[in-house]
């Protein structure tokens, strides 16, 4: 095992898969030698693999994804970096109508082994156009797989699975997690999609949390523990497929659930998870489901404002106390 940041874990996955398979290549704005990606995930890759396989692009999100689709259906395995998740708005047609639908719409003639990596999340005061968490949209697009790692271990393992998968994968990263450290094995490993992780076992309540919120949920669980409340923290790790069995199993055990994610509340990630529980485990619930998410506002710039809208340990604890 070694200690490594989320950023470095992602980079290791990229490097190892590019070494393993020469059809894997990267394209995106400033991913190349002059910048190495806005969050430095691809730093050094152009030097190792050359400018052809680590391609800087013009600012053309729609064409970047479109070109990746074209490359994917003709034998390559492109990895696209969209600099900020908010900018996927510019490539939605290519993601949703092209990448996601090609396999089905053409009757299985083509596969689209494409990974789209992008950072979501707030917390760094860069306001409404650079702080959104839009994972829920992509969950609503059949044909896409959606990964959402919260740790270096998951980041590397899931990214490797994503790259090797023949389907388009929307790979969510989180700005605040890039410098976050954790341990990973020295040897090659992958993590199957659709398998949630019980981050902390508990008896009294289930806290389902995604991405950065997993860590806030853990802090909340620590505090609650001291008060004698044992919270189970569950991280789905992939949103599509969603590990419903794990969700249901945990709720059956605890009888209560708080569901936490960034992204605004209405029609968000927490809505889907709540709906799954309401459909499949309602008889085991001893209390209403509670969703903790961003209120339905854009992300404001000023620190006290931004802090007010992003869920955290305290809001999670408050939500738990409401039902437990």
């Amino acid at each position: 095992m070694k200690e490594i940041t989320y950023r470095d874990a992602l980079r290791e996955a990229l490097v190892e898969e590019m070494q393993r398979d020469e059809t894997v290549f990267i394209l995106g704005e400033d991913v190349g030698r002059y910048w190495g990606g806005a969050f430095k995930v691809t730093k050094g890759l152009a030097e190792e693999f050359g400018d052809e396989r680590v391609r800087d692009t013009p600012i053309s999100e729609s064409a970047i994804v479109g070109a990746a689709v074209g490359a994917a259906i003709t034998g390559m395995r492109p990895i696209v970096e969209i600099m900020f998740g908010d900018l996927t708005t510019l490539a939605m047609d290519q993601i949703v109508n092209q990448a996601a639908k090609i396999h089905y719409m053409f009757g299985g003639q083509a596969s689209v082994p494409l990974v789209i990596r992008t950072p979501f999340g707030g917390g760094v005061n860069i306001a409404a156009h650079h702080s959104q968490s839009l994972e829920a949209w992509f969950m609503h697009v059949p044909g896409l797989l959606v990964a959402a790692p919260s740790t270096p271990y998951d980041a590397k393992g899931l990214l490797k699975t994503a790259i090797r998968n023949n389907n388009p994968v929307f790979f969510c990263e989180h700005k605040l997690l890039y410098p976050f450290k954790g341990s990973i094995p020295e040897e090659d490993y992958t993590i199957p999609f659709g398998s949630a992780r019980v981050v902390r076992e508990g008896e009294d309540i289930t806290i389902v949390a995604t991405m950065f919120m997993v860590h806030e949920a853990l802090s909340a669980a620590d505090t609650l523990k001291k008060e004698g409340l044992s919270a189970e923290v569950l991280d789905p790790r992939t949103l599509v497929p969603l590990d419903k069995e794990a969700l249901v199993a945990s709720v059956k055990k605890t009888g209560r659930a708080v569901i936490v994610s960034e992204g605004c509340k209405t029609a968000g990630v927490t809505a889907e998870i709540a709906a799954v529980i309401a459909e499949e485990a309602i008889d085991y619930l001893d209390a209403p489901l509670v969703r903790v998410a961003e209120p339905d506002t854009p992300i404001p710039f000023s620190p006290p404002l931004e802090k007010a809208v992003i869920p955290n340990k305290d809001t999670i604890i408050k939500a738990v106390r409401n039902i437990a």
């Binding site: 013009p58 070109a67 689709v69 492109p78 092209q98 089905y104 719409m105």
Partner: protein, 333 residues
């Protein structure tokens, strides 16, 4: 007319037997489209259709330079592209009719036919969306180091989409082996080109990307053939993309239900006189083809389309449970 009085088509790059091939291909598309139209009238075609009739010289002139492993990307008006690229008539027809033996097993339909076995990478019905996809196919060719090329068909209307700008620019800076073939049929639905852009010639827009733009009479298969030859050679030679604008005209409305009343009568008449198949036939006659030969071609085409229609009509509808399958492919290694 060249020195030998053979007309344009006496040009050595396109001899008589080759022209016969092109003519037959165009005629195949025409007769196929007429049959689709007829079947539509009989309520045998679900949804809508956008006929290619009148624009055959473009697809045929371009695809005649392409090998099976070259790529094309197509549009909502894509039947002609499929046939020109070598897709089977029967499975194309079956797809249009929503049958199990269609190329996409009935999941795609008229607007989403694909034949990956012939490098036909599929039709997208989002106007302009195919442009960056073709760029990506070109990128793939470059990265894999093969000598393939990719051709992308799209309309005058598509050239106002952001994807046109982004996709061509990307192909230009990376010198990708892509042909951007603009089928300028003067209208996007009811919107005349001059309402939607100031420049009269879309080929002019190539300058914005620093690539060659060629303007051709799109109803003259020889002109298309020549321009495509040049563009394919440039692409295969590693010298990057070309924008080829082919001025053409649809014989029918935009889609099956459109009477196209927005087109002035005189304009329609002129373009119908300027029909690509009529032109190639005239050239063949000038080259001395016999009526008997022509009749033989027509009979072959008619047979082929009949057989295809029969095949399609005999193909069953897919079983409803198939709707739930095939969203994801194999996971991979």
């Amino acid at each position: 007319m060249d020195d030998e009085g053979n007309g344009n088509l006496g040009n050595p790059i396109l001899d008589r037997s080759r022209l016969i091939e092109l003519h037959e291909k165009m005629l195949t598309i025409r007769v196929f489209e007429e049959r689709v139209f007829e079947l539509y009238g009989q309520n045998l075609v679900p949804g809508t259709i956008h006929l290619y009739a009148g624009e055959e010289a473009v697809a045929v002139g371009v695809c005649s330079h392409l090998l099976d492993d070259d790529y094309i990307v197509s549009t909502h008006r894509g039947h002609g592209h499929c046939i020109a690229k070598g897709a089977r008539l029967d499975r194309t027809m079956a797809e249009i009719l929503g049958r199990k033996d269609g190329y996409c097993q009935g999941k795609g339909g008229s607007m989403h036919i694909a034949d990956f076995s012939k490098g036909m990478l599929g039709a997208t019905a989002v106007v302009g969306a195919g442009i960056p996809i073709a760029t990506g196919a070109g990128l793939s060719i470059k990265l894999r180091g093969t000598k393939q090329v990719a051709a992308c068909f799209f309309g005058d209307g598509a050239s106002n989409q952001g994807t046109f700008h982004e996709g061509i620019n990307l192909a230009a800076i990376w010198r990708l082996p892509v042909l951007f073939i603009c089928e300028n049929n003067l209208y996007a639905m009811g919107t005349r080109q001059s309402q939607a852009m100031i420049v009269p010639d879309i080929a002019e827009r190539a300058r914005a990307y620093g690539i060659p733009g060629i303007l051709v009479k799109g109803n003259d298969v020889l002109e298309v053939f020549k321009a495509a030859k040049e563009a394919v050679e440039r692409a295969r030679g590693g010298n990057g993309p070309t924008l080829v604008e082919c001025k053409t005209y649809r014989r029918m409305g935009h889609s099956r239900m459109d009477p196209a009343a927005y087109r002035p009568r005189a304009e329609v008449d002129e373009w119908l006189r300027n029909d690509p198949i009529r032109r190639s036939k005239d050239e063949l006659l000038r080259m001395g083809i016999s009526d008997a030969e022509l009749a033989k071609i027509e009979a072959r085409v008619s047979d082929a389309v009949n057989t295809a229609a029969e095949f399609a009509l005999n193909s069953p509808f897919p079983d409803s449970k198939e709707a739930f399958e095939g969203v994801y492919g194999q996971e991979g290694t």
